[in-house]
């Protein structure tokens, strides 16, 4: 029911919203712009906004000197690996909770959620120690497992809420139409579940990509992902704004793009279905 709003009001809304939107986005924009400046231009006084000599030099330098590709590769493997592992474990669990609920389903779900609330720092040393013992310290496998564990509750929850939206009557209809269990899963369930699984994967890749407690504390040189790569810029070494910007842009660009696709899932995934 579209209410007619005066054009004047709409213009005002638009201007205000765009102003605030750009303000919030500005730090990212500024980082991207700076990544194309020379180091001298990056700290020019007054700051240069658009009119400078655009250069790709920083990207080349970051790439050459710091082995960016290795960090990127670590990030990709850890984020995707932990998500896939988590989804594989979560699908059967979420499935059975959604379609064969029992009296304890709710308790189990809430308990899973409660493990997500365990403060990481509370178990930092035990994990550190276990990692040394198991030779997992500074390994991609170790981080993959840890990130899978911290995101598993979210994955189970998201899948559960998606699966619950598949109406039971449709599965019954398939049964009445003569579909056996195999046909039911192959032709009815899977096609209906895939969008939900895809959204879950997307959000959890983002969460794992940006995780910055375990990735900083359990890695050194070998398995460090982009979070740690960027953190290495925290020790000031003279003029490095442009390079920091280039490195940052490369670290956030892929996930920013994925993130824009998953706005809706973000709400579902991070509120555990409590806000609809």
């Amino acid at each position: 029911m579209a209410r007619s709003v005066t054009t004047q009001r709409k213009v005002f809304n638009t201007l205000l919203a765009w102003l605030i939107g750009l303000l919030i986005f500005f730090p990212i924009l500024w980082t991207i712009l700076t990544s194309f400046k020379t180091e001298a231009q990056a700290i020019n006084d007054p700051p240069l906004f658009l009119f400078f000599d655009w250069t790709l030099e920083n990207y080349a330098v970051v790439q050459d000197r710091s082995n960016y590709t290795r960090y990127l590769w670590n990030s990709v493997i850890i984020a995707i690996g932990s998500t896939i592992l988590g989804v594989l474990i979560a699908i059967p669990a979420a499935w059975s909770m959604a379609f064969i609920p029992s009296r304890r389903t709710k308790d189990i779900l809430l308990w899973m959620l409660s493990t997500k609330m365990l403060p990481a720092v509370g178990v930092l040393y035990p994990i550190y120690l276990l990692f040394i013992q198991l030779k997992l310290l500074d390994s991609r496998l170790g981080l993959t497992i840890i990130l899978m564990l911290i995101n598993l509750p979210i994955i189970v929850w998201m899948l559960y809420t998606y699966f619950r939206e598949i109406p039971g009557e449709i599965l019954e209809a398939a049964r009445m139409d003569g579909a056996g269990l195999k046909d039911e899963i192959l032709h009815v369930l899977t096609p209906m579940a895939i969008p939900g699984i895809a959204s879950t994967v997307l959000l959890n890749v983002i969460l794992a990509w940006n995780e910055a407690f375990w990735t900083l504390n359990l890695t050194a040189a070998k398995a460090a992902p982009l979070t740690a790569f960027i953190a290495s810029y925290s020790s000031p070494e003279g003029l490095f704004y442009a390079k920091l910007s280039a490195a940052s842009t490369m670290a956030i660009a892929p996930i920013l793009i994925l993130g824009w696709f998953s706005q809706k899932q973000l709400v579902r995934g991070l509120t555990f279905g409590a806000v609809k």
Partner: protein, 334 residues
Amino acid sequence: MGRIVLDKVSKSFGTTEVIPPLDLTIEEGEFAVFVGPSGCGKSTLLRLIAGLEDVSGGVVKINGEDATAVPPAKRGLAMVFQSYALYPHMSVRKNIAFPLRMAKLDKSEIKQRVEDAASVLNLTDYLDRRPGQLSGGQRQRVAIGRAIVREPEAFLFDEPLSNLDAALRVGMRLEISELHKRLATTMIYVTHDQVEAMTMADKIVVLQAGVIEQVGSPLELYRSPRNKFVAGFIGSPKMNLLEGSEAARYNAHTIGIRPEHLTVSTDGNGWQGVVGVSEHLGSDTFLHVQCDDFEPTLTVRADGELDLDYGARVSITPDLNHLHLFDHDGQRIG
């Protein structure tokens, strides 16, 4: 094809018995309607026949064979669900073809049958759309199409019209009745709407709290309801039911009289009363009359042209040949 027999079938969820053991036979080619208020167990009964729920006791026979342990996919029954339960990711064509694909028919046969069903149901132009792009009535037709292509032993309908608007409902009611006449396949239809039951059924099964109150043809139920519940449930507007001294005159606990068996006049010597609201349907007028001698308001059917003011005094005479008498337990005694 399609004789369904329930022999002492019962159903419990945990410790609550929703359907005590009951017997029921639905003959070949019959249009049977299960009707009752919500929560009476009619849908559960249908799902027991479908095999979507396991019976707690008793035997379900389809065409004389024990089907109690047969999974729904193998019972040869087709079902139309209240929500239609169409597969959202498939086109109309694929939805209708699904049961045939499951039955492993060859492609040309499937194509032929789907197109036949579509033309019968006026869906030919929509075959390549997704269910989400269809109106409620069209979705309903797709659901029916999916049921008829496989030529089942019997059709099961679970409140199929309750999600449609009033005008569409009347149209679909007619279409389903016609389909039944043409296919002559057994149909079992669940509804809470007694008008649907009366207009479509060969046999009505009235249920209350999991118990069959009466089984019979629409007119049997209408003319001689076996008890007060059926009397009140079948017929619209409802039968007038009176207790107390009026009933005592006929040696009954309750007497019932349908609106059309009451005559209204402005100067008679029946029950005296005051006209409340008059509902003009054009063909008929339903008067709601508050009588002087008893509490319940009487509903009276009168001629469509009759125009009485609110508050007019009238007298009402019942047609004693159509008086229904019930005893203390609500059972019919005459």
